[in-house]
Symmetry: C2
Subunit: 349 residues, 2 copies
């Protein structure tokens, strides 16, 4: 960065630290046995006398020995690592799912390797290749844009669990929350309150979750004998900004509505601000429902009615599923239920 001579000089001062942790051999010598024996004791693949066991354990403690993961991985052909294609590691919504994955894996000695797919097919593809190169034992694709075909093809090389779509194939398991049902709960709630003109802001038009939620919206209307009006649907971007923009569009279009269902909470946050800017009050002028039930949603003004999906649980289930798949078992797991959480952003029209 600065002058070359300078960086060279400081390199001389503090060179790279040697990684000189203890090895199996050192422990074995200390305990007076062979490396094989130590290995077997550590892995519990043998019964030994208490004395020996104690001696080995003492040596392990003394050296603070922990088996080298790379060596073990190489010998075993597995790494106790699961690659996780996270779409956006900083998403307020998905984060909880990643946490669930982490928790679910840890119980079994596995650790997740997270990489961001950025909702971008190419990036997700790169992640998966990288994971395979790193020899992960399995991969969890937490939502995303990858084509079903590609996923199936990778599943021939490595076990894969994918969330957010329905897909069956050898070595592949999918787990999906019932988006359509969730959307129906939201819209039915509005209908029960007496609303007839209910607008909807979707995420992106081609996203499976968005399609499912739109489907639920339409079905709920239909069940109530309310005609679907395309003029009441606007497209956002899953974020606050899109919600703001889409709501302004809806408002400008002069379409009349007394309630607004948003494809997710972030969109609803944006919608809220748009309504505020136009001098409209929630829920007095417009009832508002989101989807996801983000932690913050209970603290909005007013607290937001939303559809809760336990994404954390979905993460845990994904972890279980991939472990079962790796173990050669076909997972039998059904996704966590969705549930409507009624707060103060909805009322009678």
């Amino acid at each position: 960065m600065t002058s070359k001579s300078d960086s060279t000089r400081s390199a001389g001062k503090s060179g790279p630290r040697p990684r000189q942790s203890a090895t199996l051999r050192m422990v074995a010598r200390e305990a007076g046995v062979s490396a094989s024996t130590v290995s077997r004791i550590i892995n519990g693949t043998v019964n030994v006398s208490d004395g020996l066991k104690h001696a080995v354990e003492a040596a392990i403690t003394k050296f603070n020995f922990r088996p080298n993961a790379a060596a073990r991985g190489l010998a075993l052909g597995k790494t106790l690592t699961i690659g996780v294609v996270a779409q956006a590691i900083d998403s307020p919504f998905y984060g909880e799912g990643l946490r669930g994955i982490e928790a679910g894996l840890r119980q079994h000695g596995y650790a997740p390797l997270f990489m961001s797919g950025n909702w971008h097919e190419e990036d997700e593809d790169r992640c998966i290749r990288e994971f395979i190169a790193r020899g992960v034992d399995g991969i969890i694709v937490f939502a995303g844009q990858l084509s079903d075909a590609k996923l199936k093809s990778y599943a021939k090389e490595v076990s894969i669990v994918v969330t957010g779509r329905r897909l069956r194939a050898q070595g592949l398991f999918s787990l999906q929350i019932d988006d359509q049902h969730g959307a129906m709960l939201a819209v039915q709630h509005l209908i029960e309150l007496g609303h007839r003109r209910i607008a909807f802001i979707t995420g992106s038009e081609n996203h499976p979750d968005a399609i499912e939620r739109l489907g639920g919206y339409r079905r709920a209307l239909e069940n109530a004998g309310i005609a679907f009006d395309p003029g009441l649907v606007a497209v956002g971007d899953w974020h606050e900004e899109g919600g703001l923009r889409a709501t302004l569009e809806l408002l400008d279009s002069k379409a009349k509505f007394t309630a607004l269902f948003c494809v997710n909470d972030q969109t609803a946050y944006g919608a809220c601000l748009a309504l505020f800017r136009k001098g409209l009050s929630v829920p007095r002028d417009v009832s508002l429902v989101g989807f996801d039930d983000l932690p913050s949603s209970a603290y909005r003004l007013p607290p937001l009615t939303s559809v809760r999906q336990s994404i954390g649980e979905l993460g845990e289930q994904s972890a279980q599923a991939i472990l079962q798949l790796i173990g050669g078992r076909r997972p039998r797991i059904s996704p966590p239920p969705v549930e409507l959480v009624v707060r103060e952003s909805t009322s009678h029209p």
Copy 2:
């Protein structure tokens, strides 16, 4: 889970998939050279004729070869992996930093291994041990509770970059945002608007960031000749809930204040709801300032004035720093600046 015979049966049907990716040897044979040569070509440690190079590249493409990371790690003594002790992988604030780390590392062929420390000394400790066992090349401790002594001690085994505190030691580099300055910006802004009775809600009492921000608050008051009143300080928990509770306490205590500075945005969200519940309006009755400038803060009602710290940039810098440290260079990096973002939650008293 279910009946034993059942799970055994399905195991028979779809056993664990073999990981049979190509090896160096296969590529070498295909290209008609030795494994050494292929290795050298891949690593660019040799100049070869174009013909040979093409032959090898063709073989690599044909087999879709990617070097086995465990083997390479074992041979090289490094893994191209950096362990990251994230406190809460699902935090709306820190997530952006993790993303920055990921981006910063990728540019150099490194990948992060994230684990959650949960703001819990024991967990953080476990993470670090696990990382060392996995042979990571370096560790980034992204904030947390670990004692300085422990950190210094680990730094003898592996290079460490830690954020959120100031600490110097061999093999260790720390990076800290200027919390005190940020807090001063916030409080000065309130003072300039004409506020004299300014309350503060802190996070946890012993957290370094909280202490620094409290310090900034006090200094700004002092600079303006306003006496510090302990009755105007309440303790939250960094989350909405604590902000809500602390604000109610403040309100119930009958302490008079026209402005409220919160240790972070999530706390401010909670405060906002508390004020609303008490029939107070922001900013008419109380001006409100947060800290962090979460993406959602621009979409609060009203949009929240906050102190922005570029946590994403901090993540990137941490990545650069750890790579430099590993390379034996002493990092020269100064943390990203803080900046006040004025929105609509503050006004004259």
